[in-house]
Amino acid sequence: MAFNLFKKKNNGPLQVVAPVTGEVVLLEDVPDPVFSQKMMGDGVAVMPSGGAVVSPVDGTVEMVADTGHAVGVKSGDGTEFLIHIGLETVSLKGQGFSVKVSQGDKVSAGQPLIEADWAYLKEHAASIVTPIVVTNGEGRTISREADGPCAAGETVILSVSAD
């Protein structure tokens, strides 16, 4: 532990806040094997109750899907987070999403990235459950920090530390 503290530039693990307000869901319980089997990476999911999808960390927008259903943010320490809004939502071809940022933008934790029309998504998507995963988790330990309700940009739901 002491070794880790010396190795890292800042104090302690990276704190990751909820990308959307709702209820924390275990990644294992997301009904899509790409997420539940952690093929894409470790993380957690949120069953949204409303509001915008916000940045989980201070960082840079690495990727925004043309269809608005997925967004990637890289934190200052190089950890990459992918937020996938709902399941099978690529097929909605942008309907129900309004993108607020562009690739390369600097963002702060809690800053809105994408606004989602949850009522529309509930009706048309396989699920609105929204996974957030670390896509470059090799050499990092990812821990879930929350259970139950979470508030976008406020509740710390994950911590990430370098091994």
Binding site: E62, M63, A65, A70, G72, K74, E80, S91
Partner: protein, 89 residues
């Protein structure tokens, strides 16, 4: 080594296809890239592949360098065919 494919997956290379391609080549040592419109993306990075935003109908060239480059190209071809992502051209 390289091989060119036409993307046939109706939604392009979004989250699931990107993950399957990256998972196939990640265990290998070779440097593998996906080149679209002259722009290379690291095929060992899900974020890079998704950021490339490859649409259906696009032509992509997979390049591999290293001792197991041939194996990398084979793995990628396997995923393209078995997942109906694209066809060799």
């Amino acid at each position: 080594m390289e091989k060119t494919f036409k993307i046939t997956a109706s939604e392009g290379l979004h989250a699931r296809p990107a993950t399957l391609l990256v998972s196939a080549v990640n265990p290998l040592d070779a440097e593998v890239r996906l080149v679209h419109n002259g722009k290379p993306a690291n095929l060992k990075s899900i974020m890079a592949v998704m950021a490339a935003g490859i649409p259906s109908g696009a032509e992509v060239t997979i390049t591999a360098e290293g001792a197991d480059a041939e194996q990398a190209i084979e793995k990628v071809s396997e995923v393209f065919v078995s997942q109906n992502l694209g066809e060799e051209i």
